[in-house]
Structures are given as C-alpha cells and as structure tokens.
C-alpha cells in the first residue's frame, strides 16, 4: 500500500460509505418488505421517521461516493512519482490492471445512477404525498449495490497497490500505429478518419446543443406531443452516439493538438500531467452534460405522476439548462484551445 494523503482520504471515504451502504441496504430492504397499502396512523408516523433517516443516510453516503470519482484520479496521479517507469496515470494503471479498469468503469456508472437517484428524491420530497417513495427505495437498492461494489473495490485496490514492478511509458501503448483508439474509427470511417471524426465531433455536439436549447425555447410548448417525443428520443440517441465520438476525437485529434504533441495520444497525459491545466474541466463539463441528458430520461421514467408533473417538468427544465450549458461550455473550451494554441 502506498501511504499518502490521497490514499488515506480514499480509505476513509470508502470505509464510511461502505458502513453507511451496508446499513442503507439492510434498512431499505426492510422498509420495502414493510410496505403495506393500509396502515394505522401510529405505524405510518414511525414509518415516515424511518424513511427520513434512510433518505438522510442515503444523501450523505451518495454525496461522499460521488466525490470519490474525481478523487480516484487525484490518487492515481499521486502514485505517478512512486511507480518506477510511470510518466502519467497510464503507468499506474499497469499495476493491478483489471482492478483499475473495473474501477474506471464502475465509478462513472455509480456517479450517473446516484445523480439520477438524487433528482428523483428531490421530486419526491417536493410533494407532500411522496408518491414515488417505493420506486425510489427500489432504485436505492440498486444504487446501494453499486455503492458497495465500488467501495469494496476501492479498499481492495488501495491495500493491494504496491509499486514493486517497473511499468512502461504511455507512448508505448498510445502512440503505436495499431492502437485501439485509431483502429476502431479507422475500421468504421476509413483510412482518413481524422477529418471525418473532427467534423463528426462538431456536428453531433452542435446538433445536441441545438436540441437541448430547443426545449428551452418558447416555441417548444406549441409543438405537438408526437413531435416533442421525436425530438426527445433523437436527443437521447445523439447523446449516446456522441459519447464514443467525443472519446475517439479526444484520443486521436484533440489531446495531441491541444497538448502540442502531435504524436502523443495519451488521454491520461492530457488530463493529468499539467500540459493543459483546464483539461479536467473540459472533460468534466462533457461528462456532466451527457449525464444530465440521461438524468432527464430517468426523471421522465420514474417520476411519472399527475401530482408531480409540475415539479418534475420544472426540474427537467433546470437539468436541461444545465446540460446545454455544460455541452456548450465544453465545446467552446475545445474550440478556444484549437484556435489559440
């Protein structure tokens, strides 16, 4: 185990979220089984009090866990100087590769689900009758499962992380001609994929931003429900397509260009070695903007109720605004760098 302030905080966060998560899982399960259609006023009061406690614990545990995602990368960056041969976070990921890969996949998933849960909880809390309590508890069970898995893997990783082996530089993986980030778009878009990918990045992002702004415009209300549905579904579809487009664009075009290292395609160097100090903001804005599109979908799926319609619609509008801002801001930052670098 490497002992530094980052690992100690990570361990603290993981143990706190693990213990809260276990309690939360047990209490939620108990509460779901205790759900009855007709109960006495006294039992109802007890039930409500218990419910408040569960939701309070959930808010604390999930907030901590969501912050663990960026913290994980701070921790990886702190290991760079400890691991022989490591130049950036890529070198660190060469030790316990399967655990790190798993963590890098589960952390965004956890962040997304937890964010969705928070928004649903906000809607439910805004209505006195709490019409989505049961659905939110079911979702909380799923969230708890992810939270526990993430926390346990974090603890295992921190304890097992020993910089005993020498690792290779990111250039030996990311800068070879047969790198996956070049081969996949090449297979889909052809040998001159860079130009197409560049255009595709701007096209998908601009369409997505226009669709996001469309729902904010005054004309949106006058559109027919069918047209609204088509726009919402196409927005979700473009949001999903945009993810691989942005990922491959950053690997193949933007990271090398913005870092001013035309042959270096390492996203970890772009993110963490200080060559582009605002790179985490660029990527963070994209992630938040994309997740917000998904969160709107979760809200529409779970918070469907006549009583809650106004609250849900108002919150969806806010999330939509947030998503539009994040996507536009990320696009502007990339463009400013490309023009002025």
């Amino acid at each position: 185990m490497i002992v530094n302030i980052y690992t100690l905080i990570m361990l603290f966060v993981s143990f706190v979220s693990l213990s809260l998560g276990v309690y939360l899982f047990y209490s939620t399960l108990k509460m779901i089984y205790g759900f009855q259609k007709y109960i006495s006023t006294e039992t109802k009061s007890k039930f409500e009090q218990k419910g408040y406690l569960i939701f309070l614990v959930a808010c604390v545990a999930l907030s901590i866990r969501m912050l663990a995602w960026p913290w994980f990368y701070f921790m990886l960056q702190s290991f760079v100087s400890e691991v022989p041969g490591a130049m950036c976070m890529f070198g660190v990921t060469q030790i316990l590769p399967s655990t790190v890969t798993f963590l890098q996949i589960i952390k965004p998933i956890a962040f997304f689900i937890m964010g969705g849960w928070f928004l649903c909880y906000y809607v439910d809390k805004s209505i006195p009758a709490a019409p989505f309590a049961k659905r939110i508890l079911y979702l909380l069970l799923v969230v708890c499962g992810v939270l526990l898995t993430d926390s346990i893997t974090d603890i295992v990783y921190v304890f097992r992380m020993k910089p005993l082996m020498s690792v290779s530089c990111c250039a030996t993986f990311f800068d070879v001609p047969l790198r996956p980030s070049a081969m996949i778009p090449q297979a889909i878009l052809g040998s001159h994929f860079e130009k197409i990918l560049f255009v595709l990045y701007y096209v998908t992002n601009i369409i997505l931003i226009v669709l996001l702004f469309m729902t904010l415009s005054k004309k949106w209300q006058s559109l027919s429900p069918f047209l609204k549905k088509i726009i919402l579904y196409s927005r979700a579809a473009i949001g999903v397509v945009n993810i691989p487009v942005v990922i491959f664009s950053f690997f193949e075009i933007f990271a090398p260009k913005i870092m001013k290292l035309p042959y270096h395609h390492c996203i970890y160097c772009f993110m963490g070695n200080g060559a582009v100090p605002d790179a985490p903001i660029i990527l963070g804005l994209f992630v938040m903007g994309t997740f917000a599109i998904g969160w709107m979908g979760i809200l529409r799926l779970i918070c469907k109720h006549d009583e809650a319609q106004t609250v849900t619609e108002r919150l969806i509008l806010k999330v939509n605004n947030f998503s539009a801002f994040c996507m536009l801001a990320s696009l502007i930052m990339v463009t400013v760098h490309l023009i002025f670098s």
Partner: protein, 138 residues
C-alpha cells in the same frame, strides 16, 4: 437564457484563455514527443529548417519523432553525458548499454563527445557502440 448562463459562459471563456496563456507563456518546455519533463543531461534538441527548435527528453523520443519528420530537420544537437556540452549528432559517439537513462521509455542509448568516454561506458555497462540514429541515408 438567464443571466447566470451568460456569466457561466464568460467564466468558462476566461478559464479557457487562461489555459491557453499558461501553455504559451508559463509552462516549462517538455519533450516534444511524449510531453515528459526534460533532464538537461539527456536533452536532445532538433533544429528544424524553419530555425525553430524541438526539445526531447531522450534519444528514444527524438528518434521516434525524427522517423516521422526527418525532412524538416536541419541538424540535431545531443548532450554529452559527461560534460553536459551540446554537440552536433554527427560528431557524437553513441553507446547502447544496459544502463537506462529514462525508465519511462527504457532508453539505453548514451551520448558522448569523447570516444574514450564512450568506450569506458561500453565496457562498464556491457554496451556496444552504435551508429548515429539521426544520420540520413543519402
């Protein structure tokens, strides 16, 4: 669009410009191939035909970059590991030995100004003399 939205966008623009300014004026030079910090004793400078210079952290990175840009290079300056002098690559002696100069890319090629220094290093670290990696076949 709200006032907050526009203020947010202005802040984002300022942050992006600050990032660009940092890259242009504050950041210390890094290896032009993979962006790592440059240790002066192993520095390789590639002087291009347009008189600009590209700096590299090791012979490995410099050769990788050179393979793709040989036509634009005017001459290459390498650093003598003993004295720290910058010399033209065609005047230097190169030794490939078991001693690694840069653990991140496993570079084992060493540069010397004096032939004797190169031979001593080769003997001490089980190395062999190699050709100038920046020589262009006519």
């Amino acid at each position: 669009m709200t006032k907050k939205f526009w203020i947010g966008l202005i802040i984002i623009l300022i942050v992006a410009f600050m990032g660009v300014m940092y890259q242009k004026y504050v950041k210390s030079p890094r290896c032009a191939f993979e962006g790592s910090a440059i240790t002066p004793i192993f520095e390789v400078d590639m002087v291009l035909k347009d008189k600009s210079t590209q700096k590299f952290c090791s012979i490995y990175c410099a050769t990788q970059w050179f393979k793709k840009n040989a036509k634009s290079v005017d001459h290459v300056l390498v650093t003598d590991e003993i004295r720290g002098n910058k010399i033209d690559s065609y005047m230097a002696y190169f030794v490939e030995s078991e001693l690694i100069t840069n653990e991140t890319n496993d570079n084992r090629i060493h540069v010397f100004q004096q032939r004797q220094d190169a031979l001593t290093h080769a003997e001490k670290f089980h190395g062999t003399m190699t050709d100038d990696p920046f020589a262009v076949d006519e």
